[in-house]
Symmetry: C2
């Protein structure tokens, strides 16, 4: 069989465990030296391919690659850069193939979400059109958990564990202060379109650790009067209340609350997101003392609190991507298939990219409680195994030790530059 | 010797490890049954004493008390309630003594910061004046690390570890996104008057993990032009920059930035704190894409990431408080004494409350770098041991298992109610 090189790139917002997928790809490729030569990574994602700025992962020690499993974010750099449609910008795709051809790349691994699944599909199509032999496999990743076909997305379980843990801890704090101080605590979380992360906040409380908790999902239009009444009732009964709010919360007209409420009379954008907005509303309407937190990048970079399930799956999809490619599967994505809930069992399946690209898996209405402020037993059954297990990084002097790769550039072979 | 009961209360903002001090007090008292009868806790701090709302900690199993060591926040409830001066409200102090007398309380343990050290001192004084035999010992606690005499404050090391870890993780995230997306990340941290927590953010980076990082201390008046230039230079050189900002950042006139900049033309308070304000400034002046996070309660409740040093010291000051009381020390506080830096060694000393009450230990100027944006080697030597060591809580189903006590009320003995 021919031996060809591989390309790997990270795309879009990074996660606490995307580097575990990178380790899965690289370590598995290294185990198949007869079929795969070098593994080149795109510096800053697909931009690295377009500009022929490739990283030779072969220059990294095995130990450094293994350390990717406990290092958050994108070790090779990621990017927010969506390739346009084939008709709109065929030149980009042709350039991509030109670079792949120059470096004898026969395997294309793209690690990202919906957009990158679409890019991966298009790359496989243009290669075929141009008669360039290429096997393209998408490696799923997104904290938003909104990829189709796969039961869940690598990256999500760790964010879910982080927001549930953080809310549980903050709730203990508020409960102890509520008598004379803070009565309402608001935590803003990511997930602009789909409320998966918001739902995960709901895992903070359970039968053994009840917490008066309201969730504000992007799927449920914000009803101010109903929300204020719900807060009022919980504070009256429990002395305090916690709120988990999606950054994508919308009003009845479908406008983002964070935008709707944050301009002053001159149209100047006010500062702060929907978290402070909701907290301020509680103060205005009920006169209750509040605190709010916006976790932002902290939630998706928190490798120190990664879910073991998530970590294992992230590595597994990277490994499976290489195995699928070697088995001749093209334009596919390894998907996580849930075999059973109790005990939780999962395996890797194969999803055609045509079924994944540009689709968005929303939180089912059946996961949200009837009043719109909580999660159902069904949601709990789905979420529970995804946050399970701890996988702490090594610590030195009290801080997690994360690896930084050497990221040595591959000498360019093309004379032409390319503007992205 | 006479056997008398003990009173314990938590005061002010809680921490990830204040319950470890409670465990230290209760377990040590239980080990001295010949001298100490029941340990009563104030429900919601000193308010519980004033209203005769006492909790019988004797009703809790040894296992539950031990579990306090891994449970954040205040297990008996805390409060923000400062007793007035003796002249202004003698009735409060007399009521306190009345309650202590009714329950034969001979030991008064008060777990808090500057204010509560003052209260503890006053309680000891009024007891003496009224001829009521009482031994009052303050147990130090504050994330702000601003108590006098003691080398550091229980509660601070864990926040320090949390903010340093979080900033390190976020920096990895930003570094991987900077090419096409976020270039500046701002993390707002606690510490309104003293920049100890801000300094701890600086530990995120070190020789092995360099990060372009700017710190904005409450001690250094904010100089917009200088700050903008510093960001600009770092982004030009490294492609990104991280900023740790104290909630208490002030402008040149001494006004809090969070207040100064957050009113619109009508004087309406805008939402959000100094974190979003600084982030927005970066956008306005340099046109750079930003993200910001406000950790708020997450940082001080994060028991999952507590420092082992901090945990050990928190327990130790609780234990020492009881031992000091039994040895006849009155109106004192167990203080942490640093014996050596390398290796780090500490012991418990004795601080008279007159030297602690109402004093605030500021961050020394020598801990802040000459340019005002970083920390010095001296600061690092001080901070390093405080964040060292991990002490994770037990997890079940992916989440930390924190204890909730039964908190059984002690039957009231007084016929009189008391309004606080």
């Amino acid at each position: 069989m021919t031996r060809r090189n591989a390309f790997y790139a990270q795309s879009g917002g990074v996660t606490a465990v995307i580097n575990a997928s990178a380790a899965g790809v690289i370590e598995t490729a290294r185990a198949h030296k007869a079929r795969i030569g070098r593994v080149y990574a795109g510096r800053n994602g697909i931009i690295g391919a377009l500009t022929e700025d490739l990283i030779d992962t072969g220059r990294e020690r095995a130990r450094a690659i293994a350390a990717l499993k406990h290092t958050p974010a994108g070790a090779f750099g990621s990017c927010r850069y969506k390739l346009k449609g084939l008709d709109q910008n065929r030149a980009q795709y042709e350039r991509l193939i030109e670079v792949l051809r120059a470096h004898d790349i026969g395997y294309f691994f793209y690690n990202g979400g919906n957009d990158s699944a679409d890019t991966c599909l298009k790359v496989s199509q243009i290669a075929q059109t141009l008669g360039y032999p290429l096997t393209a496999v998408h490696v799923p990743k997104t904290v938003d958990n909104d990829l189709a076909v796969t039961d869940n997305c690598p990256g999500f379980g760790s964010v879910a564990k982080y927001v549930a843990t953080s809310m549980r801890e903050a709730a203990f704090d508020v409960a102890s202060m509520a008598k004379t101080s803070t009565k309402v605590f608001v935590l803003e979380v990511m997930g602009r379109h789909a409320g998966w992360i918001t739902a995960a906040v709901g895992m903070a409380e359970d039968a053994k650790t009840p917490i008066p908790l309201l969730l504000l999902f992007p799927e449920i239009p914000f009803d101010e009067a109903k929300f204020v009444a719900a807060i009022d009732a919980r504070v009256a009964r429990h002395g305090y209340c916690c709120v988990g709010v999606s950054e994508g919360l919308q009003d009845a007209s479908g406008k983002l609350m964070a935008e709707a409420g944050t301009r002053d009379a001159f149209g100047h954008a006010q500062l702060g997101g929907v978290g402070p907005l909701i907290a301020n509303l509680v103060k205005e309407k009920l006169g209750l003392k509040y605190h709010w937190a916006v976790a932002d990048y902290l939630q998706r970079a928190a490798r120190h609190l990664a879910s073991k399930t998530d970590l294992d799956q992230s590595y597994a999809v990277g490994k499976a991507a290489v195995e699928l490619a070697l088995a001749g599967h093209n334009a596919v994505m390894p998907a996580i298939v849930r075999v059973s809930d109790k005990p939780y069992r999962w395996k890797i399946g194969i999803a055609p990219l045509t079924e994944v690209a540009n689709k968005e898996k929303m939180l089912p209405r059946g996961f949200i409680s009837a009043d719109g402020f909580g999660i159902t037993a069904k949601a709990r059954a789905y979420l529970a195994p995804l946050i399970r297990g701890e996988a702490p990084p090594p610590y030195r002097d009290g801080l997690p030790q994360y690896v930084r790769l050497r990221n040595v550039a591959v000498p360019k072979k093309l004379a032409t530059a390319f503007e992205v």
